[in-house]
């Protein structure tokens, strides 16, 4: 069994289109949430009936036909929507950054991605023109709407012919993808992997649909704040390169963090209402999986729990999610729960649905690499009812001896996925 480390990173996000820019915004608390004009979106009705919320977290300065670093050929642009394009560029960054492909057989390398919504833009365009004007549907509508179009194009760009697939589990897609990529490299099923996720769902129909759900903040998401009033929708992509520790050391790669555990569960309860028991089960399974990775000392799970120094929460900012996630943390960690620093990246990036898990795994990897925990933005006052140590104000050092972190994803439909990561100290 291999120990698995992260040796390459890439991202396109509302707070930065490179890992350096993302890191800088993360620690500066610079939010990507900003007002948007619904009437400017393709297909917007006139007069537009309006919606209750006024902000999203959009990627800025993404120009694949103009910016050489984001260049995509006409073939990629023809066959991919915006979210997939984010994924292709994020993967390109991670591959270049790690240099790993020169050391592994591309016929065996895996790519596991998460994308839940697919190419909504192409789907809405085609359907609008079809149903309103009886227009013909463009042949590329099929390809551009596939949730896996980015996955395939990443394989095409890099010549990777190993196991390549996409996972769609709503807001947990990215975490499921990285978790499975981790298990594949740990077991030896794949010698190395690209794991991550992408999504660009901010279309007119999608924004209107979320308005009907009444879970979006009228202003901006404030996870764990006493006055939190909903999520903020976002978009983006993040990709991680995973390879065995021994191989990474042999080729002198920089090791950002080690992935040591992955836990999954289903609430089996309700399609939208989360249940703490399900999330707690996924966290416990992630900690149990650390024992599988690192050995089995007596009371191993309890020992690993005592070493958790950071939880990157799902933290959407809805009243119910944050309360249920807090309850799950208490169920998992008992008396230790109130001592573990908890933060929510969505306060800066918004909720990018399928991409969220990988963006937050990226934030967790960077936090462990720097031994510095990013704070949660926008909090007016931490909700005292949660009884958690929420990271506010400014970044905080990772406490000595607390070298483990969890990255939680709790999806609509009660699908839970949790990664356990560890600071790599050499």
């Amino acid at each position: 069994m291999n120990r698995v480390v992260v040796t390459g990173l890439g991202c396109i996000t509302p707070i930065g289109n490179t890992v350096d820019a993302f890191r800088e915004s993360l620690y500066a608390g610079r939010t990507g949430i900003a007002p948007f004009d619904l009437s400017l979106l393709p297909g917007a009705l006139s007069p537009d009936p309006g919606i209750r919320y006024k902000t999203t977290a959009k990627v800025k300065d993404f120009h694949p036909t103009k910016n050489p670093e984001q260049h995509l050929s006409s073939g990629f642009i023809l066959t991919s929507e915006l979210g997939a394009q984010f994924g292709i560029i994020a993967a390109r960054q991670a591959v270049a950054h790690s240099g790993f492909l020169q050391h592994y057989d591309p016929a065996a390398v895996a790519i596991v991605t998460g994308c839940s919504c697919g190419g909504r833009g192409a789907d809405e365009d085609a359907n609008r023109n079809l149903y309103l004007r009886n227009a013909r549907v463009p042949p590329t509508a099929i390809i551009r709407t596939m949730a896996s179009s980015g996955t395939s194009n990443i394989a095409i760009e890099n010549g990777i012919t190993g196991p390549v697939f996409n996972i769609s589990t709503a807001c947990a897609s990215g975490t499921h993808a990285i978790g499975l990529a981790f298990h594949m490299v740990r077991s030896g099923m794949a010698p190395a992997a690209i794991g991550g996720s992408y999504e660009a769902p901010l279309t007119y129909g999608f924004l209107r649909a979320w308005d009907s759900m009444r879970v979006v903040s009228p202003t901006a998401c404030r996870p764990f704040s006493v006055d939190r009033d909903g999520m903020t929708l976002g978009e983006g992509a993040a990709m991680l390169i995973l390879e065995p520790l021994d191989s990474a050391l042999a080729r002198g790669a920089h090791i950002y963090a080690e992935i040591v555990g992955f836990g999954m569960s289903a609430d089996a309860h309700h399609i939208t209402q989360p249940r703490a028991e399900g999330a707690a089960l996924a966290m416990r399974r992630a900690l149990e999986d650390v024992t599988t990775t690192l050995g089995a000392p007596h009371l191993a799970s309890e020992m690993w729990a005592s070493r958790v120094g950071y939880i990157n929460a799902h933290g959407t900012g809805t009243p119910i999610n944050d309360a249920v996630e807090a309850a799950a943390i208490h169920q998992t960690f008992g008396d230790l729960a109130g001592q573990i620093p908890v933060g929510a990246t969505k306060s800066l990036t918004g909720h990018s649905i399928g991409a969220a898990g990988a963006v937050e795994a990226l934030a967790t990897v960077l936090a462990l690499d720097a031994a510095s925990l990013p704070h949660t933005a926008g909090i007016t006052q931490v909700d005292p009812a949660l009884n958690l140590d929420i990271l506010t104000g400014e970044p905080r050092p990772l406490a000595p001896g607390k070298d483990l972190a969890l990255s939680n994803s709790l999806a609509f439909g009660g699908l839970n996925a949790v990664l356990a990561l560890r600071r790599y100290a050499g």
Partner: protein, 86 residues
Amino acid sequence: MDDIQSRIIELVAKSKNLPESDVRMDSTFEELQIDSLDKINLSFAVEEMFSIEIPDDALNSLKTVGDVVRGVETLRAAAPPSATAS
């Protein structure tokens, strides 16, 4: 250069991100790296542009830009005026 020819050359050049000077009547799809998906997409755009329908057997026989131009001219000549307005 007649209107159909210039519009098709412009369409091909734009779809492959090429200068129009690189697209000639005798340019083959192979030379222009127009693959099967590009060909389907180009045919769709041509059908929309000229309000015609390219039959499957005619589509399969297209090998050059000139083939497309001559095919459009033939289809437009065969169709009633109301169906060929563009």
